[in-house]
């Protein structure tokens, strides 16, 4: 596992550095944009927009986890797939399932760090300008976006690992469907009652990658 983590670090480090910088810039931008609104509008108006109209002030965060997940998935698995380089990893002396799960675990870990950073930035920003009760609401509202990021990561991995074109298209459509489901509603805390179910659906994409890798190893066209 340590050796796989070392390899993935070497492969991803420049991407991770770039993404870290991008997330920090976004966090600063989120903070500054909300501060800007409080400076130029009355606080009462902002609370009115939030409470009565349902405007989400941090809506710019919505697709950041999705982009992050897709980018990590592509950065991690595209280099393995180019020229069939995955064969090098598949010949490493370990079983197929532990190998694939180790790769997914490492990618997911990196993604979760960014997602945690996004949530922390959201909590700090909201906590700085709104009453404390808004923090929990913001985190719950952003939770399906976070799940969309995880679904995008698993979906890209699943699609890239799949050697059969027809299955690849089906995997892509399935993953896109799960991501779409996570972005279905733009209301505050719209997913509160179904978060567990959506999370379960997202996590089901992970073991599907094992089947794709199995087909790749067996040379299925």
């Amino acid at each position: 596992m340590r050796a796989i983590a070392f390899k993935e670090w070497l492969k991803l480090r420049s991407w991770l550095g770039f993404m870290l910088a991008a997330h920090l810039v976004f966090a600063a931008w989120l903070y500054l944009s909300i501060r800007h609104q409080f400076r130029f509008e009355h606080a009462e108006m902002i609370y009115y927009q939030a409470n009565h109209i349902g405007r989400i002030f941090y809506d710019d965060l919505r697709y950041i986890p999705l982009l992050t997940g897709a980018l990590i998935g592509a950065a991690q698995f595209l280099p393995e797939l180019l020229r069939g380089r995955l064969r090098l990893s598949l010949h490493l002396p370990m079983g197929l399932a532990p190998l694939v799960l180790a790769h997914l675990g490492i990618g997911l870990e990196a993604l979760l760090v960014f997602l945690a950073l996004d949530l922390a930035a959201l909590a700090i920003t909201i906590g700085s300008f709104f009453p404390a009760a808004f923090i929990g609401s913001a985190l719950l509202t952003a939770a399906p976006w976070i799940l969309a990021g995880i679904a995008a990561y698993f979906g890209v991995a699943l699609t890239l690992l799949e050697p059969r074109r027809r299955y690849q298209a089906a995997n892509l459509a399935l993953s896109a469907g799960v991501v779409w489901l996570c972005h279905r509603s733009g209301q505050y805390q719209a997913y509160d009652l179904v978060l567990g179910g959506v999370a379960g659906l997202v996590l089901l994409l992970a073991p599907a990658s094992l089947q794709a890798a199995h087909r790749f190893r067996n040379g299925e066209p």
């Binding site: 069939g84 370990m94 067996n218 040379g219």
Partner: protein
């Protein structure tokens, strides 16, 4: 006690759709032998290599590598097998030092000295990335990696691809030396047949729709003969291949080349029977490449 074959293929069958590539292919490779797989394009060399490397499950038949089914190799068996992929595949995002550090963690018998013995000849800094290397330099790194694993079996898929004559020679010499010293089994394919003559103990020749021929290299070169006949020897159609004579081909200048697993008197008799005048027949020296072309045909 009989030693278990390093590779054992028995009744292997594989199709791509309706196209049958292998139909009951059988052979075995004894431990410590260096074997070259020869065949023209499209006869299934790559398919066989993929099956042996464990990246293709055969439709039927048995394929065992170091005693384990090739498509389900346990980790311990994988550790004993070094693979060199076509195009010298490597993790090109790593530097020389990084790839050594990464690969060493998987192999308990790792020989750092062997890796650097080969790689130091490149005179590149350890921080040099593999993606910035030439094909020849990358081939050295890849060979260093598999040799440092100290595997019992090496499977090499067209190691010559992209290498100039110098790197090819370096690769080959190092491979032969390490394989002989370590009593390793080597299974290799290459488009450069002349290299095989310096490398292999045994050859397997496969032809589309024909039985596989497995022989020691000296055995093949001494039993398979080439004879030449002056222009005008053949008046009618040439005999079809795989008859009493293995192959008869006419050169551009009208000379006939006859390939056969027979001595001259038998060849002369077979020629007469085929309506060809054997007067002026002369045996010819053959390199492995000549023999390969004679055995598999030019077209």
């Amino acid at each position: 006690m009989t030693l278990q074959p390093a590779i054992e293929v028995d009744g292997l069958v594989h199709h791509y759709g309706a196209h049958r590539i292998h139909d009951g292919l059988s052979f075995s490779v004894a431990p410590g032998r260096i074997l070259g797989l020869l065949g023209k394009n499209g006869v299934g060399k790559t398919t066989l290599i993929k099956i042996l490397m464990g990246f293709l499950t055969p439709d039927a038949g048995r394929c065992r590598v170091l005693g384990a089914p090739s498509h389900a190799l346990p980790a311990e068996t994988k550790r004993q097998i070094g693979l060199v992929f076509e195009g010298h595949l490597a993790y090109d995002f790593m530097s020389i030092e990084e790839i050594e550090r990464f690969t060493a963690q998987w192999y308990p018998k790792w020989r750092r000295d062997v890796f650097y013995d080969l790689v130091d000849r490149l005179q590149l800094p350890g921080t040099h990335r593999i993606r910035n290397m030439s094909e020849g330099q990358r081939s050295q790194v890849v060979l260093g990696l598999v040799m440092a694993q100290d595997p019992d079996l090496l499977i090499l898929d067209d190691y010559t691809m992209g290498l100039d004559a110098g790197y090819r020679r370096l690769f080959l010499d190092y491979l032969v030396q390490c394989a002989r010293e370590g009593n390793k089994t080597v299974f290799v394919t290459s488009h450069v047949v002349q290299d095989m003559e310096r490398l292999v103990d045994d050859v397997i020749l496969i032809r589309r729709g024909a039985r596989v021929l497995q022989s020691s290299l000296p055995g093949f070169l001494s039993s398979f003969r080439r004879y030449e006949l002056p222009p005008g020897a053949a008046r009618g159609a040439l005999p079809p291949p795989d008859g009493a004579l293995h192959r008869v081909e006419m050169e551009a200048d009208g000379r006939l080349e006859v390939f056969a697993f027979k001595d001259q008197p038998e060849v002369e008799a077979a020629l007469r029977e085929a309506g060809i005048d054997p007067t002026g027949i002369t045996p010819q020296q053959m390199s492995l490449e000549d023999a390969f072309v004679g055995y598999t045909g030019k077209y």
